[in-house]
């Protein structure tokens, strides 16, 4: 009797297991049926061109297609058009504006608009829409700094005239970043139904999940091959899993995943200006300053010695750092703007030069008197803290490798992982692993001009050099791009001084991160421009050139 009961229970548990399993099978069965029906609806015969792409390129939560919420800080090309655009050779070219003209004093910018531009709802893009967008953003003032703009006027002949308070050559870059919104349809709910004049329109935005875009039939430019784009907002692990499951055509991968093999996909490597370096306080300790509106201490007695900064610039071996921090997927960096039109090639040095670095340190008065391997000067050890963002793998690897290499020069670097909030408070008294890099030179100004000290997180090194300030101001107020570039280069190095590594080196730039993607081998991504800081949208600037070869 007792045994029977036990058997019953055993049987029962087995049957229960079978039930759960069959339930799973049932669900699996449903799954196998659905892709067939999906495929049959999208491609009636297999020879037609592929018209839709699935992309998993990041968690793009920010911006939400509204410039007021930050849309456009990197790339807006897919859904919006702006007055100007950047081509793959980094020239500023017309987009909504056919061309642009700057007055000799650099104060009046005139833009004749193209007549055939339409929003995705078919309504024409008018000068009124441009005026509305710029005035709205200037008034909001949070995501775009347009305080220098005096007025925006719609002139006769479909033309926009923007007057600014003082010349600003970097204004041209903001003209490429500000997406134009329709005056008639813009309100606080714009994100829910964004209307723009780019090649694609957002048809569905499932926050935190996916963005579905379709071709905007009113688009005035070259027709793209792909009618539909689906962006999966997956994190890196899940995105790689999606690629392996064959669910995505292109996936962003961090360097640690670069060696992963996925059938039918190839690794695409794109050079970027996304740079990393070590920011070093240039003032002696004891000062006070501001960071993002908070009072902080400033200065460091070791890093304020230019010999230390210059020695690090030539003493650190950039190729070895690349191998450690990026598995080699990157390039050396010598300034914030390597190989861009405003880069001064003279700042490139032969690095890993330990003897040369030691010579500089010796000349600066740094000697190892007590033979402990660390240099001293006036009783002070060549030792300082280096902060890095602890949730950033690349920056922590880089920081540790830098500290390791610096010991060979007799410099002791204590690495400290912290949150950005803490780094911003401590960053003016210690070194910080810093990043940056844009398609325009304005960052050169914000990171190195003395007028930027205490503003936001600009010029964290509290760097001050009157000669550099002079060049930077000349560059900023130049009325042509060529003239501006000339001064940007002089500010880096004029033969005597400059903010680059061979000059005062407030930031020793070390490497540039390659942007890596796993893409279907049939997908052609056109000629990619050098990418900027922040990988999410960098890829899509030339979406109309993308092709699919069967």
């Amino acid at each position: 009797m007792k045994e029977n009961r036990e058997k019953f229970i055993k049987k029962w548990s087995l049957s229960h297991l079978a039930m759960v399993l069959s339930l799973l099978m049932l669900l699996a069965g449903c799954q196998t049926a659905s892709p067939v029906s999906q495929n049959s609806s999208s491609s009636p015969n297999s020879t037609t061109v592929k018209e839709d792409l699935v992309l998993a390129v990041g968690k793009m939560d920010g911006g939400q297609f509204d410039p007021k919420k930050g849309w456009g800080m990197t790339q807006i090309r897919l859904t919006h058009s702006s007055l100007l655009a950047i081509d793959s050779d980094l020239n500023f070219i017309g987009d909504l504006a056919k061309s642009y003209k700057v007055s000799d004093d650099g104060l009046t910018w005139t833009f004749p608009l193209r007549d055939d531009a339409k929003f995705s709802n078919g309504e024409p893009v008018t000068p009124e829409d441009v005026k509305f967008t710029y005035e709205m953003l200037k008034k909001d003032g949070i995501k775009f700094d347009l305080t220098f703009v005096k007025s925006i006027e719609a002139a006769a002949g479909n033309t926009i005239v923007i007057t600014i308070n003082k010349p600003r050559s970097t204004f041209v870059s903001q003209l490429t970043e500000i997406g134009i919104v329709p005056k008639a349809h813009y309100n606080d709910n714009y994100s829910k139904n964004p209307i723009g004049s780019g090649p694609y329109k957002v048809v569905q935005y499932d926050d935190g999940q996916q963005v579905i875009m379709e071709y905007n039939s009113y688009w005035y430019g070259k027709k793209p091959q792909f009618k539909k784009l689906t962006f999966l907002l997956l994190q890196e692990d899940a995105a790689l899993a999606a690629a392996k499951a064959g669910k995505a055509d292109i996936v962003y991968v961090p360097p640690t995943f670069a060696k992963q093999k996925v059938d039918g996909m190839t690794l695409r490597t794109y050079e970027s200006i996304d740079s990393r370096g070590i920011m070093l306080p240039t003032q002696p300790s004891g000062g006070k300053g501001m960071t993002n509106g908070k009072e902080v201490k400033t200065g460091n007695d070791v890093t304020s010695d230019v010999a230390i900064r210059k020695a690090l610039n030539i003493g650190l071996n950039r190729q070895k750092l690349l191998d450690v921090a990026l598995d080699g997927y990157g390039k050396n960096a010598y300034c914030l703007c390597d190989n861009l039109p405003w880069f001064n090639e003279k700042t490139v040095v032969i690095d890993g030069d330990i003897q040369g670095a030691k010579k500089i340190l010796e000349g600066g008065g740094w000697v190892d008197t007590n033979k402990d391997g660390i240099l001293e000067k006036e009783g002070r050890k060549a030792e300082f803290d280096l902060y890095f963002s602890s949730n950033d793998q690349l920056r922590s690897d880089l920081s540790l490798a830098v500290a390791d290499q610096a010991t060979e020069l007799g410099i002791k670097i204590n690495t400290i992982g912290a949150t950005w909030d803490e780094i911003y408070l401590k960053g003016k008294t210690a070194a910080v692993t810093w990043g940056g890099g844009r398609h325009h030179p304005y960052q050169l100004y914000t990171m190195n001009a003395s007028s930027e000290i205490d503003k936001g997180i600009n010029n964290m090194a509290n760097y001050r050099n009157p000669k550099v300030d002079e060049y930077l101001n000349q560059a900023l107020t130049a009325s042509t791009q060529e003239e501006a570039n000339k001064y940007w280069k002089l500010a880096q190095w004029d033969g005597q001084t400059g903010f680059s590594g061979i000059g005062d080196a407030p930031i020793v730039w070390l490497l540039r991160v390659d942007h890596l993607y796993l893409a279907n081998e049939k997908l052609g991504l056109g000629k990619q421009p050098i990418h900027s800081h922040g990988h999410e949208w960098a890829l899509f600037g030339n979406i109309t050139e993308w092709t699919w070869k069967n």
Partner: protein, 322 residues
């Protein structure tokens, strides 16, 4: 009964007030600067802009002032505006809560039933192979991080077997109006499974212990002596006595369930309340965070309340206790 409900209501109100004060204080004590989080390291914000943001968000006022202005609005049913999404907090919570609720609900029911049954089976077969397997399974699972479990399921069922999708709540690239119910179910299975698998272990092990205690009591020995079969003993004595700890545990598990769903939602990019809370926390979005914390504590409180009420229904002896 009425009195105890009144006491409970007073408790929940004080709990919510305390929680909101605690959250506000913790945020202000933390080194996190919401302005930094919002600018996200982009260096183009000028001091004037930063002042503007502070003013716009009201963070230029003292923490106490901020709290009272928030609480005042709250009393009128206004949860405030999310800083990150720039839309009303209540709308965000509404749209996310149902998704999370479905996920947690399914996981909860599944883990409760399966856990209880496994616990019973283990107790009845104490010391035998079945018991050992169930124990081994439970101990392994209890010490398994939920996100790791999620990744494992993802690799096995989505990448290798391709039975289920790799993430999201709906099929990629399909418009909302074209999404079939069965698609939603398919996307739902893996996160729900992840969440329930881990809940099973807890209930199973507690049920097993309780059941073993019951099987060792004198009334069970007496019942055996009377000639009752094992099955009769379970239905007559075991079930009522062992279901109480299971129910208490299961409802008290609401809190853990919420924490687990946060991680599961992250792994599967499942757009629920948990993943929103993570974003709000990391980016210093105070109104959204306080909103979600209040709603979720109400949820956990409700769980405990239901557990108490059910206990009294199942076991009348507990009515007298407080």
């Amino acid at each position: 009964m009425a009195r105890s409900i009144t006491i409970r209501l007073i408790r929940v109100v004080t709990l919510l007030i305390g929680l909101s004060i605690l959250t506000f204080s913790l945020i202000h004590l933390s080194p996190m600067d919401p302005i930094n989080a919002y600018i996200a390291g982009d260096s183009s914000a000028s001091p004037e802009q930063i002042e503007k943001i502070k003013e716009y968000w009201g963070v230029d006022k003292s923490p106490v002032e901020q709290y009272f202005s928030w609480a005042g609005a709250m009393l009128q049913g206004n949860f405030g505006t999310s800083k990150l999404y720039r839309s009303p907090v209540i709308d965000i919570i509404k749209s996310r809560f149902l998704t999370s609720l479905a996920l947690m609900g399914t996981a909860w029911v599944l883990s409760g039933i399966i856990g209880y049954i496994l616990g019973m089976i283990a107790a009845v077969n104490r010391g035998k192979t079945t018991d050992k397997i169930i124990k081994w399974y439970s101990y392994t699972l209890v010490s398994t991080p939920i996100f790791w479990m999620g990744l494992l399921l993802l690799i096995v069922f989505a990448v290798w077997l391709k039975w289920f999708p790799v993430g999201l709540a709906v099929p990629p690239g399909v418009l909302e109006s074209d999404v079939q119910f069965i698609d939603r179910v398919r996307h739902f299975v893996l996160p729900a499974l992840t969440l329930s698998i881990l809940g099973v272990a807890n209930v199973a092990m507690h049920t097993r212990e309780k059941m073993i205690d019951i099987l060792n009591t004198e009334y069970v020995i007496f019942a055996k002596a009377r000639g009752e079969s094992k099955w009769q003993i379970i239905t007559n004595h075991g079930f009522r006595n062992s279901i109480i700890p299971a129910i208490s545990l299961q409802f008290a598990y609401f809190g853990e369930l919420f924490g687990g769903s946060m991680l599961a939602e992250q792994v599967f990019a499942y757009p629920g309340l948990g993943s929103t809370l993570t974003t709000a926390g990391l980016r210093g979005d105070l109104p959204l965070m306080v909103g979600i914390i209040l709603i979720s504590s109400l949820f956990v409180f409700a769980g405990n309340l239901i557990a108490d009420i059910l206990n009294k229904v199942v076991d009348p002896r507990m009515k007298g206790e407080r």
